[in-house]
Symmetry: C2
Subunit: 417 residues, 2 copies
């Protein structure tokens, strides 16, 4: 079955690659309209998914994440209309020129072809990914969380109806509808048909893809993010940034997980930190030196477990570690970070520059919150994933990351000397 | 042992990333000087490799490929000096701007980190790859063909001496010196230390890397390249291009392997082709329709075997197939090509555009030889490999392909709203 899906997707991708931006926007507009006009079938499927998930004992927070409402569906449709307004990178000439040989060479941006996406149980992702892939002329094979398979199937049928009515193949957007996990393993070996695989999810999924996939994979989305408070940091704005980076939306990958505090200011800084964290209900996981300064509260402080430096809390918890200097801070980040987002709070230019140059992460910040690592915040208009690997795309992946390029040589009966 | 090498390479990469172009060029110049000044040790090691290879019955052609001479070593040193003159992409600002939030964002080109390269038994590749990696601030772990392991080890020792004398860690360039093949499998799992893996070699090596590597891999270098002779092609220049694409250097990956001839001109074109191919000693592997037109010579013509459409000859052999039209030609290329280099010979603008848009290869040509797909020919100055995958880099990979980028956010105590 997957083999057939792959073949159909590849064939569809050849057709999609030739569409103008106007033709692609026409499909996107129709998809947005149909999501609203046919909300009933999608909502009915979603109700079944939610009911089954409730029977299976999913938490209220997770149930809320997978539930659709008419208002949420309208918001999703609005996002699709937003994608219409984004600049289409396909067809862009990256560079080119006339070579000594007489060959006129051009490097032109083209779609990747077929993109496979494995994602969590969030119904909006189905539409987000499909619309970004279509906007860039790519076919998509989607595999959403098994808790939302009925919702995804219903959503993809609406998308396919819009495609077909625009004279395009339904196979341009396909979903793997069975909740069978073995299909994921099969999907990972379809390098004949799929050009890029994006796993969105936990560390386990990323490891599986890195180890088993024969398709080029973009890994990311896991953020053990750090903020280093230098000895020249100004306290009030530093606290403000830490509060934002930890508490604005704790479940996201760009949330700070570990605070590294310069020993020269720890004694004065940590009480102020404790006040602010207490107010926000953040539990501090402190190394022994920091704990002695934090144990009297007001924020709850516990001894950090070594493995907590290497994992995301995704909750109102924050590691606090005192470091000797900038070098020690950088060493800690190199050893424990996931190359996602890291920040320095400092008033010293040389330290700011050193941090920017020496911390090897997708995004590095000076006197700013790590929460900015996001496609919309970065002005990319949309985001299909956040890459923490170095090949192809790094950090928030916008439309450009869904394209590749092709070298085109125009000769005048030109041969190589 | 490999674990130690990986750790040392990663540590070295942090230091290399901070070097200015001038500092990197200083090392490269010293390497070039030492390759000449210490040619004796390298040539002695090479003599041992060659002697052992001869005892093992390697062909004269292969022996020639792995043999070094003082003149060849000087040419290799000259190539290193050439790399000094190339523009260093590291530090380049790709784009940036001031966001509504007040964050000043910049996307800056940085080295990849540690690059692993597995390559054939060609001693010049050791120096080529090392110099391109150093120029872009990357550490390199090299695994050359086992027939040249002594040569590679001696060469790397000379490179390391130059590194150390410039105050840089020897681990910036390391070679796996043992001919043990099991080490390759171990190398493929070192995703903790290696950021990108480039296998240069045959289809078997690429398959192994795609299936076993947990490190992002760049595959390529295998070219089943096509030329389509359209019915509007002019015969004399078409023959000239085919001769160039097939015979200028038949063992290269950008050599044409299959000629697709429009049925409308086959009867008149194939006799002219046969004359030219006979002159160059090319054997034609023809489909049944073409064979009936080619069997009387003057070029040797045999019936093509189906599997020959999917493989590189790398010799003076050429498939010839008659196709109904441009669509059939494109279908054949999609089914049998390796997305390397394909050309159309035509005088019809619409067909030229269709071919360029619809053939999904790294390089597509109109009225030019496929032999142009090459870093030097494309003006990239150098080439570390030719990628036929779509992620990260496509076609000839120059210095830019050895870099990634980093997002840098400069705030003024800026938080996300």
């Amino acid at each position: 079955m997957l083999e057939q899906m792959g073949k159909a997707a590849k064939a569809a991708s050849y057709q999609l690659a030739l569409l103008s931006s106007r033709e692609k926007n026409r499909v996107l507009e129709k998809i947005a309209d149909y999501l609203e006009a046919q909300s009933e079938t999608i909502l009915a499927a979603n109700a079944q998914d939610v009911s089954e998930a409730r029977d299976n004992g999913l938490s209220d927070a997770l149930l809320d994440r997978l539930q659709l409402t008419p208002a949420r569906l309208s918001a999703i449709a609005a996002d699709v209309r937003q994608v219409c307004h984004l600049t289409d990178p396909v067809g862009q000439v990256i560079d080119g020129g006339l070579l000594d040989s007489g060959l006129r060479l051009e490097r032109r941006r083209v779609p990747l072809g077929v993109i496979g996406v494995i994602y969590e149980a969030r119904p909006n992702v189905t539409v987000d990914v499909a619309s970004l892939c279509l906007k860039t002329g790519n076919a998509a094979i989607l595999r959403g969380g098994k808790e939302t398979w009925r919702t995804n199937a219903a959503t993809v049928r609406v998308i396919q109806q819009a495609l077909v009515e625009c004279g395009l193949p339904a196979a341009a957007v396909q979903a793997i509808e069975s909740p069978d996990r073995a299909l994921v393993n099969e999907l990972l070996r379809m390098d004949n048909y799929i050009d890029m695989l994006i796993p969105r999810g936990g560390a386990g999924l990323h490891k599986l893809c890195r180890e088993q996939s024969t398709i080029p994979v973009i890994t990311g989305g896991i953020g053990v993010c750090h903020i280093f408070v230098d000895d020249s940091a100004e306290f009030a704005p530093a606290i403000n940034i830490i509060v934002n980076a930890k508490t604005q939306r704790p479940s996201t990958c760009n949330t700070v997980e570990t605070l590294l505090v310069h020993q020269g200011v720890a004694e004065r800084f940590l009480p102020a930190l404790s006040d602010a964290m207490a107010e926000k209900g953040v539990t501090l996981h402190a190394d022994s030196q920091a704990l002695s300064l934090l144990q009297d509260g007001p924020a709850t402080a516990v001894a950090v477990k070594p493995e907590e430096y290497d994992d995301e809390f995704l909750s109102l918890d924050l590691n606090v570690k005192i470091v000797a200097d900038l070098d020690t801070a950088i060493d800690h980040i190199r050893a424990h970070g996931t190359q996602h987002s890291d920040a320095i709070l400092t008033r010293t230019l040389r330290n700011a520059n050193r941090f920017v140059n020496e911390v090897d992460s997708s995004a590095v910040y000076v006197n700013a919150s790590t929460r900015f690592t996001d496609g919309a915040q970065f002005g990319l208009g949309a985001e299909v994933a956040v890459s923490t690997q170095k090949l192809h795309a790094r950090g928030p992946m916008g439309l450009e990351a869904l394209t590749t390029y092709k070298w085109i040589g125009f000769g005048d009966d030109t041969i190589r000397a």
